[in-house]
């Protein structure tokens, strides 16, 4: 399996999962939230979380932020993004996921310490963000070293060819 294929197989399903749940949460935010498939009493209470004051940030629904975020993450996990040689894409992918993990910290803190309820659907998005972050970091760590190191190893073969 090529490195690109492995990266796509590991990240794209997670990104699509996050996007799917984000679409669902955004839809529920703009509808009545009454159809959220989740208990609405006790510690597991999606509606309490999605209708709390923490469901919006500076007037923008967090569900909408999640949707926009995951559209970007899916784009960064597409085969074409993994194939690109530009280090910018790789850095952007890691930076976006690190920012996502930071936001997950904030949302989990709000759920546990301010709202006193856990939203199962939100947790799916949180888990996919954290797992994606871990997978992308490991893929970046295991990738071949930067292009600058390559010629030393490959140069002798190239130089030796004419003499053979």
């Amino acid at each position: 399996m090529t490195p690109t294929r492995r990266a796509v197989l590991l990240t794209l399903p997670l990104a699509l999962l996050g996007l799917g749940v984000s679409i669902y949460l955004a839809y529920e935010h703009y509808s009545t939230s009454a159809t959220l498939a989740c208990p609405d009493t006790g510690a597991i209470n999606c509606v309490k979380v999605t209708s709390s004051s923490y469901s919006e940030l500076a007037g923008v629904p967090v569900a909408l932020l999640g949707l926009v975020y995951y559209v970007g993450i899916v784009a960064l996990c597409l085969p074409v993004a993994w194939r690109t040689a530009s280090p910018l894409v790789s850095r952007l992918r890691i930076a976006a996921l690190a920012a996502g993990v930071g936001f997950v910290f904030y949302l989990v803190w709000a759920e546990l310490f301010r709202i006193d309820a856990i939203c199962l659907w939100c947790t799916v998005v949180h888990v996919s963000t954290v797992v994606l972050f871990a997978v992308v970091l490991l893929l970046a760590a295991l990738a071949p070293p930067a292009a600058g190191a390559q010629p030393m190893a490959t140069a002798p073969a190239r130089r030796g060819s004419p003499a053979a």
Partner: protein, 310 residues
């Protein structure tokens, strides 16, 4: 001295190339190990933070457990939990319910804010049965805009009308919200000392001025200084309770709080209905935020009651 043969030279060159290749491979390996260490450390840090948050939550950090005011309210925990998490479906199904007296709009209102947010001011006393009734919808309504801490249990006086009406108390409670601020003043306890109810919180400063200005006709229907008194950002005021407390008499706090989940119950009709009317008024102060609260069926329905009463 040119004894070196081409074969010897090419062997040396091949050795150099091999060593260079080995060195490059070693460097690449070391670089990969370094990056792997950083990645694993980052992942471990993320896992550690998330585990820390969960452990701290389970251990009760941040829930006011070390706060004496919160500790004294532990017996009311179940009621507080239920009253602060009434399902939106139960509120939507009730609409205005049996709520009778809506807050009235203040003509030429002067916005009253605290920390840059519209201030909800409650003035009452623990002995007062109408205050006991009114606290329930205040707690339910404000829970939709923010979070309560340190709410405790209380009851009205046993020698007054609607004796021992079970309720929550704002004494020692705090409220945080992105949209509103809250000040709750319980001026007296429900215990008499030398024939008078013991003093509790002091009404002072701007809050006292708001009370003196608006807790009188024509802003409220009762006599001047009536409690409970509510000012919603200085734009709406309410004197007395929104419903008659008889629906609560003889019920425990837990009974009252758990009945809020059942839209058919008398308690939910009165408390949730009043909470929806209050929420409709509060939504005017927050410019309709949060959207899903202010646009909910129950609040939209209750808003008609608000307009009918202004």
């Amino acid at each position: 001295m040119s004894s070196r043969t081409p074969t010897s030279n090419s062997r040396k060159a091949a050795d150099r190339q091999r060593r260079a290749g080995e060195l490059a491979a070693e460097r690449a390996h070391a670089e990969r190990r370094r990056r792997l260490r950083i990645a694993v450390a980052s992942i471990a840090a993320v896992a550690l933070v998330l585990t820390g948050l969960v452990v701290a939550s389970v251990a009760g950090f941040g829930d006011g457990a070390d706060d004496p005011a919160a500790a004294s309210t532990s017996s009311a925990d179940a009621a507080v939990k239920a009253a602060t998490s009434v399902p939106p479906s139960a509120l939507d199904a009730v609409g205005a319910g049996t709520s009778e007296t809506p807050p009235t709009r203040v003509p030429d209102a002067r916005a009253i804010t605290q920390d840059g947010k519209p201030q909800v001011l409650y003035v009452g006393a623990e002995y007062c049965p109408f205050c006991a009734a009114q606290r329930w919808p205040v707690v339910v309504a404000l829970s939709r805009f923010g979070t309560w801490k340190g709410l405790g249990g209380s009851e009205s006086a046993s020698d007054d009308v609607y004796p021992r009406t079970r309720t929550l108390t704002f004494h020692g409670a705090s409220y945080t919200s992105d949209y509103l601020s809250f000040t709750g003043v319980e001026t007296s306890t429900n215990q008499k000392v030398n024939g008078a109810y013991e003093k509790l919180d002091e009404l002072k400063g701007e809050d006292a001025r708001t009370f003196v200005t608006y807790a009188r006709p024509p802003f409220i229907s009762g006599p001047a200084g009536s409690i409970p008194f509510l000012s919603l950002g200085g734009e709406f005021v309410l004197g007395g309770s929104q419903y008659v407390p008889d629906v609560l008499v003889g019920k425990s706090r837990t009974d009252i709080a758990s009945a809020l989940d059942d839209p058919q119950s008398d308690t939910a009709q009165a408390v949730n209905g009043s909470a929806n009317v209050l929420t409709a008024a509060l939504c005017e102060l927050t410019d309709g935020q949060p959207h899903n609260v202010c646009m909910s069926t129950g609040v939209m329905t209750a808003a008609k009651k608000l307009d009918a009463g202004s």
